[in-house]
């Protein structure tokens, strides 16, 4: 074995130096290596999930079936969602946590490095399981991937082919990986903060992730239970979701959305944690309302656990349940408005410059605002009867998860990329990427609000002629949106390869421990913990 030693003479405990090549990445326990792998995997799967939906949008460009049959269409729609949620967005957030949490809280690494390695290496097999049925079907094995939408609603999923089993097992593995990541984040934050960094002095990004980690621990086991019950209904004769055996299909929806609603906040909280850092940096001013933001994170986390049934208002819930779930959902608007208030107040009377991360942050606030406001009216049970299961909802949650989730991740990538690579990315390409993304995103999803209002249901492979114009516009937007993301990948790639040297404090207004380390930081950082006064 290689006997690499660190500067202070101790043998290198883990990471670089043991192996080269592929083995280094397979065996690494270094938080930076693992963070890089999470982020790379996420970017790759972002393109996989994106290509699936571009095929769908191509089919929806005009009425009639052009490119594919409805069975395949349904598979693409459902697997697109699962890939984007479990394989693109969640790993991106975990990648951020791995790279940045130790740097930001002054810890030498994540608390549980081996668990960390395993947490990542579970992802590729899970993604493979999820998508394998597509390829097996090419060889005449099975009938393709999960075709029930990402929601697995029973009894459609009981009836479905083996793609459902593959997806259930994939979700299990994704879930185990996320739970391990969450445990690691919680243990790291509680035990490895620099001396003097009390919880209420901790960076907001760490707070956002801490709440996310608790939500994952609270809800993923419920999802695992639900899909396991589905698996036994499918193969072992149980009837949890079959009325003929005393079961209830709506029970599945309760269990699924007990996970599914907090999942939205699981995807958003790390981004909300990141926003004040970016806004403060480029406004050259401290983040406004630190405590208010922390309490809002906690409030949103708790509330998100008790509002799940608004995802199936049309299923025929009793009146008291409808009223309760409506009002509890509306209540989320209060802590969320606190966050918006703090974001804008952070910008207020600053000295702003608009580098790419700041552009993405501002774009995030405006477009995510549309998601929040339409979410408020979706909470209204009476109006929801019209919006539900329609393209209005599709538009709403893409404003939440594309602008709230993905554009938030892009904000973080541009913000931290110079720190990670030691090089500046191309501002010109970054800005072009931003404007193309915002323009084409709105071109894609704004028409979908109107499609929903006009009565177009979601998840249909073909539509009535009255919906043709808006669908064509939406498809054109989607193609531009998809192609624009190549700029993002190219910008990252060239930034890794070289470019203007980045300084330790990459941005003029940046504040925090991570900016006190050189860019890129050494393989092992904060071996002597900094002391916070």
């Amino acid at each position: 074995m290689n006997t690499a030693t660190t500067a202070n003479g101790h043998p290198a405990p883990h990471g670089a130096g043991h192996y080269g090549g592929v083995l280094r990445w397979l065996t690494t326990t270094n938080h930076k290596d693992i963070g890089t792998m999470y982020l790379t995997f996420s970017l790759l799967m972002f393109f996989v999930g994106g290509s699936m939906i571009l095929a769908v949008r191509a089919e929806l460009f005009s009425p009639g079936l052009q490119l594919m049959q409805p069975e395949f269409f349904n598979q693409l729609v459902g697997v697109h969602a699962l890939v984007m949620i479990f394989a693109a967005l969640m790993p991106a957030a975990t990648g951020f946590a791995n790279w940045m949490l130790p740097l930001m809280i002054g810890a030498p690494d994540m608390a549980l490095p081996r668990l960390n390695n395993w947490g990542f290496w579970l992802l590729p097999p899970a993604a493979l399981l999820l998508t394998l049925p597509f390829f097996l079907a090419l060889f005449g094995i099975g009938d393709g991937a999960l075709a029930t939408g990402w929601t697995f609603y029973a009894p459609l999923s009981v009836q479905g082919g083996m793609g459902v089993d593959f997806a259930i097992l994939a979700v299990h593995i994704f879930g185990i990986s996320s739970i391990m990541g969450s445990i690691n984040v919680i243990v790291t934050i509680f035990n490895m903060r620099a001396p003097g960094m009390t919880l209420m002095k901790m960076p907001l990004f760490a707070w956002g992730w801490l709440i996310t980690a608790f939500l994952l621990l609270a809800t993923l086991p419920v999802l695992a239970g639900a899909v396991t019950m589905l698996l036994t209904d499918r193969h072992f004769g149980t009837q949890f979701f079959d009325a003929a055996g005393g079961g209830d299909p709506i029970l599945f929806q309760h269990l699924f959305w007990f996970f599914g609603h907090p999942e939205v906040y699981i995807l958003l909280l790390p981004v909300w944690g990141l926003m004040p850092h970016v806004l403060a940096t480029f406004s050259r001013k401290p983040a406004y309302g630190y405590k208010a933001q922390v309490y809002s994170f906690i409030a949103i986390g708790v509330l998100s656990l008790v509002v799940w049934a608004h995802h199936f208002f049309t299923a025929g819930l009793p009146v008291p349940a409808l009223i309760y779930f409506m009002f509890s959902t509306m209540a989320i608007s209060i802590p969320l408005a606190v966050l918006f208030f703090c974001w804008i107040a952070t910008m207020w009377k600053g000295a702003m410059t608009f580098e790419t991360p700041m552009l993405f942050a501002v774009g995030f606030i405006v477009l995510f605002g549309i998601a929040g406001l339409t979410g408020l009216i979706l909470a209204d049970v009476a109006a929801d009867a019209q919006y539900h299961h329609s393209y209005f909802v599709v538009a709403h949650f893409h404003y939440a998860l594309f602008t709230g989730g993905i554009m938030g991740v892009m904000t973080g990538v541009y913000y931290w990329l110079p720190k990670w690579t030691g090089h500046m990315y191309s501002e010109k390409l970054g800005k072009l990427h931003f404007w193309l993304t915002v323009f084409s995103f709105n071109l894609t999803f704004m028409p979908q609000f109107f499609l929903g209002l006009a009565g177009m249901p979601r998840r249909i492979p073909d539509y009535a002629l009255q919906f043709a114009e808006f669908n064509a516009i939406s498809s054109v937007g989607a193609m531009i949106l998809g192609v624009s993301q190549l700029l993002f990948a190219w910008n990252i790639w060239s930034c890794i390869r070289g470019g203007e040297k980045a300084e330790a404090r990459v941005w003029e207004g940046a504040d925090g421990l991570e900016w006190e380390l050189p860019s890129p930081p050494p393989h092992h950082s904060w071996e002597t913990q900094p002391v916070i006064k």
Binding site: P70, A244, G316, I323, Q386, H388
Partner: protein, 408 residues
């Protein structure tokens, strides 16, 4: 060319309005900001409401769109003002505040939340609770009941008081979907047999399903409710204006989810009553015909009609199916197997068993509830003697009727 000219004359008025709508699509962005103005045209908004619930829903929607538009504009006007004034490039020196510091600042920081609380729980909340209560009040002064059963991929409608029951399937030809023919005006939103309802009557709608969850939705009724297998759900409509109203299944229910339209003919009551009488007379005629002996040709002809309506979506027009999910009937061992046992009873897992009792855990449902004796006998006979299958035997409607009585 000629036919399209005729067509455009026939639907001239709707073309004009389509033109108007297209013009307005240029004002795409503006319309979100002006929901009230857009409401008049119903391209950027819900279609024209024809029930009290739909009117209420449209009203709520317009009011909320106005509120959230104002919130959006005010909040982001402040932000954009700040982005213009508080830039480094205009030489703005950054302040260093990080929270409200005086009682006055606290007051101004809390005002927006007081407004939001008022909007949420008073302005929006109180009308919403009233709307929920009226939406869910399906029983008070209901004039009639309509039972809607969703099944892959068609709707069955039943009028329990009148004893009428029929299946309604999409009538758009598959060739139009495959782009082999020009698409009709009501492409994908047309059925062979629409459900007929009287105007001005409160109709209590009971919903259920035989297989997976479906959702019955007619946008102009403002009503959307899931049809859940093994359970009854309910809703109601009171249609105020005669007309033809179109909707679709709104819950992903498998392969042909997009091809499961709902068409409602709302007619004045006398017309409705006449329709009911006509349906009853037809039902009596059909029931009577189960007792007579049918010829093989008659059964095959009737069976083809049933097959094309009920079976073709899965088993396909040449009986080739979509293996492995939807098995082929052409060359099927089950179809070629014996019809009934020596005592005239159903053989487990035989052709008759599959059609009458279905197969649990698959899309193959039990058709004993949805097809008549004649239809069952006809479609079984048709399948045994088509797609290259040459079993050569047939089953009489009377035999099916006997099997039914035995099962009881």
């Amino acid at each position: 060319m000629e036919s399209s000219a005729l067509h455009s004359r026939a639907v001239g008025s709707s073309r004009v309005s389509a033109c108007l709508r297209r013009t307005s699509s240029r004002a795409l962005a503006a319309s979100l900001l002006l929901p009230g103005a857009a409401a008049a045209e119903y391209k950027f908004n819900f279609p024209e409401p024809v029930t009290p619930i739909a009117r209420e829903t449209l009203h709520i929607h317009n009011e909320f769109m106005l509120i959230i538009t104002i919130l959006f504009v005010v909040v982001f006007a402040i932000m954009i003002y700040s982005m213009i004034k508080h830039r480094k490039s205009v030489g703005h020196a950054p302040s260093q505040f990080s929270g409200p510091s005086s009682a006055m600042q606290w007051f101004w920081a809390l005002i927006p939340f007081a407004i939001l609380l008022f909007i949420d729980f008073v302005l929006m909340g109180i009308p919403a609770v009233q709307a929920i209560i009226s939406m869910e009040d399906t029983k008070t002064r209901a004039d009639m009941v309509l039972k809607v059963t969703g099944m892959q991929w068609k709707w069955q409608y039943e009028y329990p008081e009148a004893g009428i029951k029929f299946i309604s399937t999409m009538s758009t030809p598959r060739a139009q979907i495959a782009n082999a023919e020009a698409k009709g005006e009501h492409y994908l939103l047309e059925v062979d047999k629409p459900v007929v309802l009287p105007v001005g009557k409160k109709v209590r709608i009971l919903l259920t399903s035989t297989d997976v969850i479906h959702t019955w939705w007619v946008p102009q009724f403002g009503v959307k409710r899931d049809a859940i297998p093994g359970f009854l759900r309910e809703t109601w409509v009171l249609i105020e204006k005669p007309g033809i109203y179109r909707g679709q299944c709104a819950e992903l229910c498998g392969k042909d989810h997009g091809f499961m339209p709902v068409v409602v003919h709302a007619v004045p009551e006398p017309e409705y009553l006449a329709w009911v009488e006509q349906q009853k007379a037809e039902a009596v005629a059909t029931a009577g015909s189960a007792d007579r002996a049918w010829s093989s040709e008659e059964l095959i002809a009737e069976g083809k009609a049933v097959y094309d309506k009920v079976c073709v979506a899965c088993h396909q027009d040449q009986g080739q199916g979509v293996p492995p999910v939807f098995p082929a009937l052409a060359g099927s061992k089950i179809v070629a197997g014996p019809l009934l046992d020596m005592n005239g009873r159903i053989i487990p897992d035989s052709h008759v068993d599959r059609v009458v009792n279905g197969k649990a855990g698959t899309a193959m449902q039990a058709f004993r509830e949805t097809l008549s004796d004649v239809e069952l006998a006809a479609v079984i006979t048709y399948e045994r003697n088509s797609f290259g299958n040459k079993v050569g035997d047939m089953i009489q409607p009377a035999q099916i009727k006997a099997l039914r009585q035995e099962a009881k």
